[in-house]
Subunit: 111 residues, 2 copies
């Protein structure tokens, strides 16, 4: 690989990582729901249509690993689990709002 190509590839790299980290089917809806104050999986499930609980858990764990979410378990009966956005997750929400505004432009363009 030529240096020039390698530079171009490095340049796209953080963007690729960013896109990969949010490209799971339910990840953006999950972030959106948590941002709306719905912290418990039972609450997400109401807001997200037809999501499989196993898939939801996998995607939640990936987002914890990526540093987007934190998980807190409360020692209660019945046990309670809450997810929150990290600082990085909150920065993602700001970008998602911009993508949302950009999506409105796309809709206007189609009309």
């Amino acid at each position: 690989m030529k240096t020039e190509e390698r530079v171009a590839e490095n340049k796209i790299c953080p963007l690729e990582i960013a896109v990969n980290s949010i490209s799971g089917k339910w990840k953006i809806p999950i972030v959106w729901q948590i941002n709306e104050g719905k912290k418990r999986p039972s609450e997400f499930l109401k807001g997200i249509a037809n999501v499989d609980r196993r898939v939801l858990n996998k995607q939640l764990n990936e987002m914890i690993e990526d540093g987007i979410l934190t998980k807190e378990s409360f020692n209660e009966l019945p046990p309670r689990v809450e997810y929150s956005l990290t600082e990085i997750g909150e920065k993602l929400v700001e970008i998602l709002w911009q993508l949302n505004d950009w999506g409105k432009l796309l809709i206007l363009e189609k009309e």
Copy 2:
């Protein structure tokens, strides 16, 4: 569907459209390449690893339809075709830079 749920669903709608419009495998790299001044498909192909020309054309056409790109054909021999970003496409690039910066945070978090 309850009104409350419908409101939540409408709210995510432009974001979903935005995400869908850029979720084709080569779309973000194509936008990135065009933004770097590489306007001709032969030039994109150098910058994007292992892309199938047929897939590339499909994704270019979808992005024209979405209002992200424009295509200009020059009546020359051999025929020349150039793609450019529309105003909407340029707004996308601004958001991609922010996602790129956010990706850098994810990388730092993993280190």
